[in-house]
């Protein structure tokens, strides 16, 4: 699955896409693949504050719980309610329909520390090699 060029990526495998004043956050295809079948998602409610680098929710597969870390600080405007009934969408469309939250960012300059698509692809290729070494 291709990594959208206009998204930015974290080392913990979240993506963030800023359009206008609003940022959309999700987990990457690599992350969903590592997790396996996603069966449960827990997300913050609108109005909640998220902090850079702090956990704001969890995504669970059959066998594991994963914390999701905020790529930037902000206020939650919307959480993807569809995922409550169809968490498996995270496996099939992690970069699109299975976005997690929409956030109004506090400080957009925080994104400058994140990876672009090609840097992220190089990053996961390297960690893949390490895992199979």
């Amino acid at each position: 699955m291709a990594y959208p060029k206009n998204y930015r990526y974290t080392k913990e495998h979240e993506w963030i896409n800023v359009e206008g004043g609003l940022a959309t956050i999700g987990i990457t295809d690599y992350a969903q693949h590592e997790l396996g079948d996603v069966v449960f998602v827990e997300l913050p409610k609108p109005g909640a504050k998220i902090e850079l680098g702090k956990s704001f929710g969890t995504v669970e597969s059959v066998k594991a719980v994963s914390e999701i870390y905020a790529p930037a600080a902000g206020e939650v405007i919307e959480a993807n309610g569809e995922l409550q009934n169809t968490p498996e969408k995270i496996n099939t469309d992690p970069h699109g329909a299975a976005w997690l939250i929409k956030v109004r960012l506090t400080n957009a300059t925080e994104l400058s520390g994140l990876m672009d698509a090609s840097a992220y692809e190089a990053y996961i290729a390297a960690s893949g090699k390490e895992a199979s070494a």
Binding site: H13, A31, V39, T58, S61, V62, A131
Partner: protein, 392 residues
């Protein structure tokens, strides 16, 4: 997100099929020091593998399991006496070609490990033990059978063990053996030819709650891969898939089969684990018996129950159980979504006063008290074979 995969160390042990799993693109994890497949994306992942076993057939590499052979030396009866001493079930009741579930106990009545005991001959037994406890178990068996007329051999590395599990396992395996599989009852075994290999052990056993077989073949890589490939080829018409440890866990949990380090351990005794029916107090003395006698008089402090989540949330291993008031009362030993039932299920140790079916209790999930209900176990029981139509 944190990576779910455990970092690999170079000293991880490998089964003879390790290279094949990697070529199949399996996701590998460190399981008790073994580099093992947890799921195969090519099979469709954990849930698809789980469903294949419940609905048709799946194949597991379980070569990491250990195998200990005990044979009489000198006078007959030495092996049986040794097995009777270290194992809580009554091996004298086993016919040649029969197996049973049992456990080896510490003098405290707690678990060294659970085992499947196979009676190979009048004076020969094969104990199949867990991977993570292999060295501990073999040392335990050697140490505690010294005074018996028997020889103990560690055959763990001699076998590649495949578990072929599911309602169509019998149809699949029958294509590869001259043994009459329909004549093998549950927990019986034969020595037969499999894939042209003579004297392979074919046992109607498993760890999935489904019908199925475990076969034991020579452990060299070429033979192991040949057998695996022939099994997959023979299973094509049944849509067989390779299965990893991920679904092995969800399958055994639905069937309430114990996992060492979770439902049973060196801290939990036989009565607590509710494995009474495999513990034969009347057979004569054995390791752990005296402590169990005492524990029975003292009464249970905790007991294993099955629970089902009512509130949204998945109970996981080691999560705390509490009562309405929020007091900690117990702990989850295994918890997972159940692919068959579509519910979140768990096994937990709680005081007997909370063990009645229908009791409401709570599981603490990331600081939240989530409601759960004590339910009957096993969570899943395989459907009985359709009764043969009676001629009226």
């Amino acid at each position: 997100m944190e990576s779910a995969a455990t970092p690999h160390k170079s000293e991880l042990r490998k089964t003879p099929l390790n290279g094949l799993h990697r070529r199949l693109g399996a996701k590998m994890v460190n399981f008790g020091g073994w580099d093992m497949p947890v799921e195969y994306p090519s099979s469709g992942g954990l849930i698809a593998e789980h469903r294949a076993v419940r609905g048709s057939v799946g194949v597991f590499d379980v070569s990491h399991m250990g195998d200990i052979r005990i044979r009489s030396s000198g006078k007959p009866g030495g092996a049986l006496a040794a097995v009777q001493h270290i194992s809580m079930n009554d091996a004298s009741k086993l016919a040649i070609g029969q197996a049973h579930y049992s456990a080896m106990l510490y003098p405290e009545g707690t678990f060294v490990d659970d085992v499947i005991v196979h009676r190979l001959s009048e004076d020969g037994f094969l104990l199949v033990i867990n991977a993570g406890t292999r060295e501990k178990d073999i040392n335990w068996v050697r140490e505690n059978t010294k005074s018996f007329d028997c020889v103990v051999e560690d055959l763990s590395d001699a076998y590649t063990q495949l578990a072929i599990q599911g309602p169509r396992a019998v149809n699949l395996l029958q294509k590869l053996t001259d043994g009459e599989l329909s004549a093998i009852k549950n927990y019986w075994f034969i020595e037969g030819t499999v894939c042209g290999l003579k004297n392979a052990l074919i046992a109607r056993t498993g760890y999935t709650g489904e019908d199925g077989f475990e076969i034991y073949v020579p452990s060299d890589v070429a033979t192991s891969e040949k057998v695996w490939n022939q099994v997959m080829e023979a299973g094509r018409e049944f849509a067989v898939v390779p299965c990893g440890l991920g679904c092995r866990n969800t399958l055994r949990l639905e069937s309430k089969m114990a996992l060492y380090g979770h439902e049973i351990s060196e801290k939990i005794n036989v009565w607590e684990a509710a494995l009474d029916r495999y513990c034969k107090m009347g057979k004569g003395d054995f390791l752990g018996r005296a402590a169990l006698e005492q524990a029975r008089t003292a009464g249970l402090r905790r007991t294993l129950v099955g629970i089902e989540m009512i509130d949204r949330g998945i109970a996981r291993d080691e999560y705390c159980c509490c009562n309405e008031a929020g007091d900690a009362i117990g702990v989850v030993t295994s918890g997972s979504p159940s692919p068959t039932l579509g519910k979140n299920i768990a096994l937990a140790y709680v005081p007997p006063t909370y063990s009645t079916v229908g009791t409401v209790l709570y599981v603490e999930i990331r600081g939240r008290k989530c409601k759960a209900l004590v339910v009957p176990t096993p969570f899943y029981k395989r459907p009985k074979k359709a009764a043969v139509q009676q001629v009226s």
